[in-house]
Symmetry: C2
Subunit: 362 residues, 2 copies
Amino acid sequence: MTALSKLNSIAANGNQADGSIIDGKADADSPILVEVTRGSMVESRHRASLAVVDSEGGVVFSSGAFERVVYGRSAVKPLQAIPLVESGAAEAFNLSDAEISIACASHDGEDRHLETVRAWLPRIGCSVSDLECGAHLPYHEASMIALLRSGGEPTAAHNNCSGKHTGFLTLAKHLDVDTKGYIKYEHPVQQRILGVLESMCGLELGDAPRGIDGCGIPVIGIPLGNIALGMARMADPSGQSEARQAACKKILGAMAAEPVMVAGSTRFCTRIMESTSGRALVKTGAEGVYCGAIPELGLGFALKVDDGATRAAEVVTGQILRKLGILSDAQAKSFAELIEPPLFNRVGKTIGQVRAAEKMPF
Amino acid sequence: MTALSKLNSIAANGNQADGSIIDGKADADSPILVEVTRGSMVESRHRASLAVVDSEGGVVFSSGAFERVVYGRSAVKPLQAIPLVESGAAEAFNLSDAEISIACASHDGEDRHLETVRAWLPRIGCSVSDLECGAHLPYHEASMIALLRSGGEPTAAHNNCSGKHTGFLTLAKHLDVDTKGYIKYEHPVQQRILGVLESMCGLELGDAPRGIDGCGIPVIGIPLGNIALGMARMADPSGQSEARQAACKKILGAMAAEPVMVAGSTRFCTRIMESTSGRALVKTGAEGVYCGAIPELGLGFALKVDDGATRAAEVVTGQILRKLGILSDAQAKSFAELIEPPLFNRVGKTIGQVRAAEKMPF
């Protein structure tokens, strides 16, 4: 087992003084972990790095460069939800498991997601117009079609991040600060989240590279191994304060109890949590990032597909869960269309597959 | 200038005798050509191989492994349209430039595309129900929304390949063969196309790796450099038969005259052909393939992004056209949002860019 402590200095190479863009460590050493086949040939390939670590930073296994600085994007939403619970806001507003789960979500915009967000907002004295995430059509195709057929327009409630943003508004209300501008780096809500990321991921982030996420909030560059450490500390919070321990358990318990709120009825995150009966709590992020916490093993993982492809991140996640024994060989077989999905053409014929590379290096 | 003739033996390693999937040459040597930035960091990276060649197989420049066997997907539609014109079918049915252009298209499903296909089909004694490509919603978002708001359902005419398929039906009618099953490998239409690919790309394809495209037709594995050769021979068909020369000129002329038919009003292919006034005739394909013909230089190019990302294929295409002087520096600047596009979040704020890698190897 490799100790992760040496990573703690890496974020110090964050923003360059001249404002130029850094490369977050070169990626020449990410191995090919996923192949996309069509007919008799491999058509495309995806490279990824990953780390599976314990709550003390011991690396259980890894592949590629876990020192690489990446944006965790939506895959770190469970970590970003910690202040909502730890602060007492969730208790004060009597949040349900469904609400805490959707605060960790990139949801699909199904009716159940919209109903949850719309019922929560007035309880904190807010409305959809307070959400600063912008609007987009639901990702769930049937819901998108139904919305348009009914003459409706997408609102900020349909945004896949609306649950997370409602969580931010809830925290702002509880902290008794102005909700306006809650997406800005300087706002107390985002500063509180930054502090939690620092303590959970085990490094200072004041000068870390940063940018803006699709929904407007800051994204912070963190070494991949340290993101895995943050997830491991959610899975095994025994070294944390009592309030932090309770928050981590509450959040992972809510995801396990309401997995459909985290993504959607047809989505990989939800179906993995359902098929493992909540033994693995997993979360996707844009640009090929994926994170997970496995409480029974006290482990966390994080992975980044070099090129940003979600289809590859999901396949690598399936292989990590197989290697950890969370998905048995029998389960892997019965969920084959989930973890190594076939590809179909426009008339429903199977024409290829997204699969683990023949020689997996871990 | 490197001669391409050594490539001619490569497809012979096509389908393996035991039916297992071949890897079409490993990709360890594709360089990183495209970076995706967000804030102060490079977030994702894309590797690609490419070749720019003349009609005799001389390699003008290349990057990565042009020997790699790839599926040309929709990027070879201009080559696949040759039999439609060369056979006399286009003349017999009095096809317009718009019709020949949409026969080379992956169109967006805008009204103009649907009108063109719907007006063409009855002239060959066919209807939408003869199209075997399957149905999907228009790629053009406003058209997709309008279709759903009007209560409509997508049909095979909306399929981005419906123009190509109408071209296949037209050829079948002209050859006086059964149109049913025109998408099958064994059908005379597909066999005629296979022969044209062989002669244009300069190699035998009888045992080449193959699969099925999204629209149901065969895809044939061909070394990337040979696909570029096929495009070069369209750009400079002087070594071909008179009928082939006329067909190549007619097809490229139709694409130049009706660029919006090839893709759509907002799409990269169309906008590149418009902005270069038809000096470059370009075509995208699924899984990160891109092809082009430049008649004034007598050159063709083909590229494949390892991971299949279209966003990267477009950026590499822009860089090829810059290096060839088809896009001047001034044009590259005025079309910056096209060839190195900014990325926006859900409220329209610029948060990053898809750009050429800082050190381009060609």
